[in-house]
């Protein structure tokens, strides 16, 4: 090694030592100053569940598909068993957040509730997602195993899982760097009142108002207009695709088994709290084949777990119409009302079965 390189290496090591030692010290010293952060819709729904879980018969936990596709009022009105329902769906929900919601239900003391959850999303592979406040909030050492389990149980190619792991590691590095921790203490904002946009969540059932969302959120408006541009051919394309998908291949089912184990564990956790778990698979044209494979794998790995399959004829028959969707993967309010109405009998069946078990 040349003298230049040796000096460069030595100086880099010295800088890294100073940096790491100080960061470690700051991480320890600043623990008492940590405060509960406002995570927008997620915090709002967690608080509602903690306070009111006992008011509902069925609680939906999941991603943006739950958030947009489950209309609690329509479900209540159409259910023969008169279920009262809360939509605790949150866009972008990942495993550690889903686990947090399950813990909140436990803390609320709710029992004998039907907790219907979706397959959580993997962490998003982009830099902003790694550093955003929600990801950072859940980037804790106790969540480390959940995050990696979420990634490595995916039926995805090895390179993709490796890349996702890299991004996740990035989130831990970012957390360790402690960016903003001292700033928050020394320069607090004067009005701590959160300025969080909650699209129409004032109805006490957790369901958003899509029209308000389109009006107030440029991202949602852009998605709606993108879908509008392709919507005339969309329904035909989807129906064409449907015809070609009868059953998922054995290979696909096998590759979803790890994921099915993860879902089985989630269900076991809900069951251990004295609640009734059920998995819901939403109709989603772009991932149709994968969704069916997961549903089959869950049936195999966790035969006792109720699965509400959104692709069932009884549920999906009226849905393949472009006027019922706001983008390629989410129903609009009219579509959500129909979908919620269609799944109501299955949920009532779950409840009846549980009652007869007793």
């Amino acid at each position: 090694m040349s003298k230049n390189r040796l000096t460069f290496f030595k100086n880099t090591c010295l800088t890294a030592t100073g940096l790491l030692l100080t960061l470690t010290l700051l991480n320890i010293l600043l623990v008492p100053f940590e405060t509960e952060e406002d995570l927008g819709i997620l915090s709002y729904k967690k608080a509602t569940l903690l306070e009111k879980s006992n008011n509902y018969d069925a609680i939906f936990l999941g991603t943006s598909q739950t958030f947009r596709n489950i209309d609690p009022d329509s479900l209540t009105q159409s259910s023969s068993c008169k279920l009262s329902v809360y939509n605790a769906g949150v866009p972008g929900l990942v495993l550690e957040e889903l686990n947090d919601f399950i813990s909140v239900i436990e803390k609320s003391g709710a029992k004998n509730k039907i907790v219907i959850f979706t397959d959580p999303l993997p962490p998003r592979p982009d830099f902003n997602a790694v550093t955003n406040i929600r990801t950072q909030h859940y980037t804790t050492y106790t969540n480390f195993s959940d995050r990696y389990q979420n990634i490595w149980s995916l039926p995805a190619p090895f390179w993709k899982k490796t890349a996702l792991s890299g991004f996740s590691m990035g989130a831990y590095v970012y957390e360790f760097l402690g960016i903003g921790t001292l700033s928050k203490i020394l320069f607090p904002e004067l009005n701590a009142a959160p300025d969080v946009y909650l699209p129409g969540l004032d109805r006490d059932n957790g369901y958003p108002d899509l029209e308000a969302d389109i009006k107030n959120s440029p991202e949602i408006a852009a998605r709606a207009s993108r879908f509008k541009a392709i919507s005339d051919k969309w329904a035909d394309t989807v129906l064409e695709k449907q015809k070609s998908i009868k059953e998922p291949s054995e290979n696909m089912v096998a590759s979803s088994e790890k994921r099915a184990f993860l879902i089985k564990n989630l269900a076991a956790k809900i069951e251990a709290q004295g609640n009734i778990p059920a998995l819901i698979v939403f109709p989603e044209p772009p991932t149709h084949r994968e969704d069916l494979a997961l549903a089959s794998a869950v049936k195999k790995i966790a035969p006792g777990l109720s699965v509400i399959n959104g692709y069932d004829e009884t549920v999906a028959q009226d849905l393949w119409n472009e006027n019922l969707w706001f983008d390629e993967t989410h129903l609009n309010m009219e579509g959500a009302a129909i979908f919620s109405k269609n799944i109501a009998p299955q949920i009532c069946e779950i409840r009846t079965a549980k009652e007869s078990d007793k």
Binding site: N4, T7, K10, N11, T12, L14, T15, A16, T17, G18, L19, L20, L21, T22, L23, L26, L30, F127, T131, I133, Y174, L177, G178, I179, G180, T181, L182, S183, K184, L186, F187, P188, E189, L190
Partner: protein, 465 residues
């Protein structure tokens, strides 16, 4: 991609590593060009075409100017460069401003005008690279430099990523010669560059971005605050803009330095200036010298008598104000500085020397004037600016709210640190530390600076210009 974001560190680490591994100068220049275009594309790839157009036009124009000795032909080519560069700048930056102003004027004269405002996005850094590339053709026209034969060098000069979006405005005469020779690692002042980057990072991320919140509050609702809070808010803005811009410049110089390039100094403790002339020798030096060499002197400078000198000063500062932003508040800011500079020169002519004037008083007076002018630079409109000015001059306000104590203390605290840092030449003393202490200290200071950096990155103020 901001200098204070982790993704910039990743970007730079990759560019830095490849750059020093490459042996050939040509390969390095290609890498710099690609990296620069990539850096700019991270903002908005669509506007890369404007940089390319400017580069190609000025490369060709400079060659054409050099190829002939006929003065009228040379002038025609120069006009082509001026028209195209200023045309692009004018369209993207000033089209709506002038249209709106004309419509307002016509409406006030009782005329009815139907028009639509175009939705024009301002390309980041356009004011900086336009001035930079203009100086190249003007210098070739003036025969101060030769036209560059290699278009790659011109392209790197226009797009060099450390200073592309917010300067310093580099002259071709200073930069192009640096591209002819392969840069050597042994010539890089590593400790200086690292410390300069860290100082810039602290100024921007730890000072400017933290106090920005309180400044925004004051300028958003000045009527709610007491005169003392308003005065503190304006002083904090003075600190914010200085730390933001000089922080960026420090980091730009450091990043360029780590690649073996020298960029000119852009700030020299401007708030310690003893008068306004002195202030402009210390603030945004690359712009003020650009305006001096390419506007003030061609207008006649101080060569045609006192009146013409003041006219030239005023025109230069008005255009300098307009360069910053397409709004009348910026023009008025330029006017205040033009008037202040003229007054300064007049005073200097009447009183042969300021030497008898205590420096603390002259520094305070200059700082107060600069602060008063900053109000028009920062305020969203004249109404807010006049309200603030009126409250400060009469020391009265309808509001009584105060800024929190730590925000109020930030001004004297940072002021004292700045004075001590300058007085004791602390930068040089830190550089002189033994390597072991220096690098350990850099690690420790970086960790603390990261903690002090607020989450959510704020763009540099000067990016909007």
């Amino acid at each position: 991609m901001l200098f204070v974001e982790p993704r910039f560190f990743l970007f730079f680490a990759v560019v830095f590593a490849i750059y020093w591994v490459l042996k050939g100068n040509m390969a390095r220049k290609i890498l710099l060009l690609l990296a620069s275009y990539g850096f700019y594309a991270a903002w908005d790839w669509r506007f890369l075409s404007l940089i390319l157009i400017s580069t190609i036009i000025d490369y060709c124009v400079a060659r054409k100017i050099e190829a002939t000795n006929e003065q009228s032909t040379r002038k025609h080519w120069l006009w082509l460069s001026l028209a195209s560069n200023l045309g692009i700048l004018g369209f993207f930056k000033y089209f709506n401003f002038f249209t709106d102003s004309a419509v307002e004027l016509m409406t006030s004269l009782g005329m009815t005008v139907n028009y639509t405002t175009l939705s024009i996005v301002l390309p980041v850094g356009i004011s900086f690279y336009t001035f930079q590339t203009l100086s190249y053709t003007i210098d070739v026209y003036r025969k101060n430099i030769n036209a560059e034969k290699n278009i790659l060098d011109v392209a790197v000069f226009v797009a060099f990523f450390p200073q592309l979006v917010a300067g310093p405005i580099v002259r071709a005469a200073d930069f192009l010669p640096q591209l002819t020779k392969r840069r050597e690692w042994r010539e890089v002042a590593v400790k200086t560059c690292i410390l300069l980057f860290l100082v810039g990072f602290i100024k921007k991320a730890c000072v400017s971005d933290n106090i920005a919140y309180y400044v925004d509050l004051i300028f958003a609702t000045p009527g709610q605050y007491s005169p003392f809070a308003l005065a503190m808010g304006v002083c904090l803005y003075a600190i914010q803009i200085y730390c933001d811009f000089s922080g960026y410049t420090d980091m730009a110089i450091a990043v360029a330095g780590l690649l073996g390039f020298h960029l000119p100094k852009n700030f020299a403790a401007p708030y310690l200036a003893r008068n306004l002339v002195d202030f402009w020798r210390r603030w945004h030096i690359s712009l003020s010298t650009w305006l001096r060499d390419y506007l003030y002197i061609p207008l006649g400078g101080n060569r045609n008598g006192t009146i013409m000198r003041y006219r030239n000063l005023m025109l230069t500062m008005l255009l300098g104000g307009l360069w910053h932003g397409a709004a009348w508040t910026f023009v008025f800011w330029g006017f205040l500085h033009g008037a202040g500079l003229s007054f300064n020169h007049a005073l200097k002519e009447k009183i042969s020397s300021f030497k008898g004037f205590p420096s603390a008083v002259s520094i305070t007076l200059t700082f107060a004037f600069v602060n008063l002018a900053w109000i028009y630079f920062r305020a969203p409109d004249f109404e807010t600016a006049l309200l603030l000015t009126g409250s400060l001059l009469t020391w009265s306000s309808e509001g009584a709210a105060q800024l929190p104590i730590f925000a109020t203390l930030a001004f004297p605290f940072l002021g004292i640190i700045h004075i001590l840092w300058q007085k004791y030449e602390s930068f040089d003393k830190v550089i002189a530390l033994k390597d072991t202490y220096f690098y350990l200290g850099i690690g420790i200071a970086t960790a603390i600076a990261l903690g002090l950096q607020p989450t959510g990155y704020k763009p540099f103020i000067y990016f909007q210009f």
